[in-house]
């Protein structure tokens, strides 16, 4: 079963330049959360802080009653065994074959025999569809394959918390869809806690149970998927709907003059698109933290945009007739 991760008042800066400050959120055990944010807002830094690769300036990260920010080096290595991390480019060991890469954590941490290791590696490679590429070196396969091999290696120790650093960057839409489905299925099978850092809107809209948005050095919002997708908060609304109108500019946030000019020109925000259904596990069983579509909206008296929660589960969002 997954493990809850509670982050309190986390602050990180590089050379006096704050990356983000006072980030507090809870990743519920066994649920999938997505962390969004414009490029360069320190999402990857947040991920690295979460596994203790970077020390935060202030704040705490609570996992099973231990504060990761204050653990000794040795204790940190113990806690890290709970984690599986998929790095942006897979971060495979370049001198080892795919097979050895995936077998590496098993050989280092367990006393299993080589035939047991082969069985586990085989299973994980099959899961990510890489059977047949075992003998290849990371330099000889494509970026998408490297990513999947990295995922197989991250899964091999059966982690309780799995972190993804942009699983969909550099992948074509079909592979992204497969990878998203794989994430959903893994979550359903293992019950681990997932955190996905991405800026792919389609992933963010259909995969998670919870969404967070980092913007301008702080966590703008974190909560259930439907809460963010129906939010009128300008930043959240602009980002989740990939619009130009709103506080996020090309370089950094727009300044007040620009915003005022925008308001005076009478530019109105386009309507919120309908909230799509969540992706379902491929075996037809419900998700771990599944709630009936629209439940959060009902409980909080929020009327979802017209056309929400319709259509085939997991299909790419299309504007419905009502909007045309």
């Amino acid at each position: 079963m997954g493990v809850e991760v509670r982050v309190e008042g986390l602050t990180k800066s590089f050379g006096g330049q704050p990356v983000w400050s006072d980030v507090s959120l809870t990743l519920p055990a066994g649920e999938i959360s997505v962390l969004l944010g414009p490029s360069g807002t320190g999402k990857s830094v947040f991920l690295k802080t979460l596994v203790g690769l970077l020390k935060p300036d202030r704040g705490a990260i609570w996992i099973e009653g231990r504060d990761l920010a204050r653990l000794s080096e040795r204790a940190l290595y113990e806690v890290r065994k709970l984690f599986g991390v998929l790095f942006q480019d897979g971060a495979l060991f370049g001198s080892m074959t795919i097979y050895d890469n995936v077998a590496f954590p098993l050989r280092e941490h367990t006393r299993r025999s080589e035939s047991e290791i082969r069985a586990v590696v085989h299973e994980k490679l099959e899961m990510v569809g890489l059977l047949g590429a075992e003998r290849k070196l990371p330099g000889e396969i494509s970026g998408g394959m490297r990513k999947r091999a990295g995922l197989a290696r991250a899964l091999v120790l059966d982690p309780q918390i799995i972190l993804f650093d942009e699983p969909d960057s550099g992948l074509d839409p079909v592979r992204t869809a497969y990878l998203n489905q794989l994430i959903i299925d893994l979550n359903q099978q293992t019950g681990a806690t997932f955190l996905i850092v991405t800026h792919d809107i389609n992933t963010a809209r259909t995969v998670p149970d919870n969404i967070g948005l980092i913007y301008h050095g702080h966590l703008a919002m974190f909560g259930p998927r439907e809460m963010l997708l129906s939010s009128t908060e300008p930043v959240v609304r602009q980002f989740l709907n990939a619009q130009r109108i709103g506080p996020i500019g090309m370089a950094e946030e727009k300044d007040s003059d620009e915003l005022r000019a925008e308001a005076e020109a009478g530019v109105e925000l386009p309507p919120l698109p309908p909230i799509p259904l969540q992706l379902a596990p491929s075996d037809g069983r419900p998700r771990r933290a599944e709630q009936s579509p629209g439940r959060w909206c009902e409980e909080h008296d929020v009327v979802p945009p017209a056309g929400s929660f319709q259509g085939v589960r997991g299909s790419v969002w299309q504007p419905t007739e009502a909007l045309r």
Binding site: S13, G16, Q17, P18, S21, K48, L53, E73, Y77, E78, R80, V85, Q88, D89, A91, L92, F93, G94, P105, E108, H109, G150, R153, L157, H216, G217, H218, L219, A220, M221, F222, G223, M227, L228, S230, S231, T232, E233, P234, V235, V236, P247, E252, E253, S256, L259, E268, P270, P271, L272, H300, D301, V302, V303, P304, P305, A306, A322, L323, R324
Partner: protein
């Protein structure tokens, strides 16, 4: 996608009420402005000192990694093999002219002083005590150290080292400690090789080119040389190998900024290693002459 129309807008207006539990809104603009303090002299000084501090902390970690079980034998053998494969040939090729130059210089100088019978002693002692460890240092830092630094630097920027840490494996123990032992061992062996080649080169130039006698060459060497000369040469070589590996590993593991960062790290590590090794060589030589009494004639 079709552009949104009026009906869509009205739909959205009715559908969205304010969300319940959000944190403060965007755009207050405090964080960015508060940053960017410091700069100027004191910051540069402290950052320089901080670099030294990090390096020493890294050295202590590495020493702790050396004694931690299990020792990574496989990695050690691979690295020892790799370092020797890149360093043996250049070391031998550098040692021949080095020994010859010393023989030529000292040969003519000693003849001017009227002590031809001691040419053997002077050139052999110069090669075994000084030239050989220095050549070893140059080769180990230039060939072995740069390779270690480039390898670890490439792993660092490809996030391999991060991945290793996340998999619960300490890169200092897994990668750096075997490299230190391998570099020290190869340096010790290389020192022996360079000594032999250098002495042989010196003998050839002294006896064949300058008309010295083989008997005088060997006898004078035995009169002045002692076993501790070889020992101090080996001690130097072992320390040079270890220091070169430490500096190279440190720079490799702290490389940042993409492929260019790796190049910079290799450059810095080689330059710094040269400076450190020559300084270390001076200190060891000075201590050696204080501690070990020299033979008289």
């Amino acid at each position: 996608m079709s552009p949104p129309t009026g009906t869509g807008r009205s739909a959205s207006n009715t559908s969205t009420s304010t969300s319940t539990s959000t944190s403060s809104g965007p755009g207050s603009g405090t964080g960015k402005l508060a940053a960017g303090t410091g700069g100027g002299g004191p910051t540069r000084l402290t950052s320089g000192l901080r670099g030294f501090g990090h390096f020493f902390a890294f050295c202590l970690d590495a020493l702790r990694g050396l004694v931690r079980r299990p020792f990574q034998v496989r990695e050690f053998v691979q690295q020892a093999w790799f370092i020797s494969s890149v360093s043996i040939l250049p070391a031998a090729l550098v040692a021949i002219p080095f020994g010859a130059v010393i023989a030529l210089q000292l040969g003519s100088l000693v003849r001017q002083l009227g002590a031809q019978s001691f040419t053997g002693a002077t050139s052999v002692l110069a090669v075994v005590r000084e030239a050989s460890p220095i050549v070893t240092a140059l080769i180990i830092a230039g060939a072995g150290g740069s390779a270690i630094c480039a390898d670890l630097g490439a792993r660092k920027i490809r996030e391999e080292l991060d991945a290793m840490e996340v998999l619960g494996i300490d890169p200092v123990h897994r990668l750096v400690a075997p490299r230190i032992v391998a570099a020290a061992l190869v340096a010790a062996l290389l020192n022996g090789l360079v000594s032999v080649v250098g002495v042989a080169g010196g003998y050839f130039f002294n006896v064949v080119m300058q008309g010295g006698t083989p008997g005088a060459y060997l006898a004078s060497f035995q009169a002045l040389g002692q076993l501790s000369d070889l020992a101090v040469g080996e001690v130097k070589a072992v320390l040079f190998g270890a220091v070169a590996a430490l500096v190279a590993s440190y720079h490799g593991m702290t490389a940042k900024g993409g492929p260019k960062g790796v190049g910079d790290a290799v450059n810095q590590s080689v330059v710094l290693t040269f400076m450190l090794l020559f300084a270390l060589n001076f200190v060891i030589t000075a201590v050696y002459f204080q501690l070990v009494p020299q033979r008289g004639m």
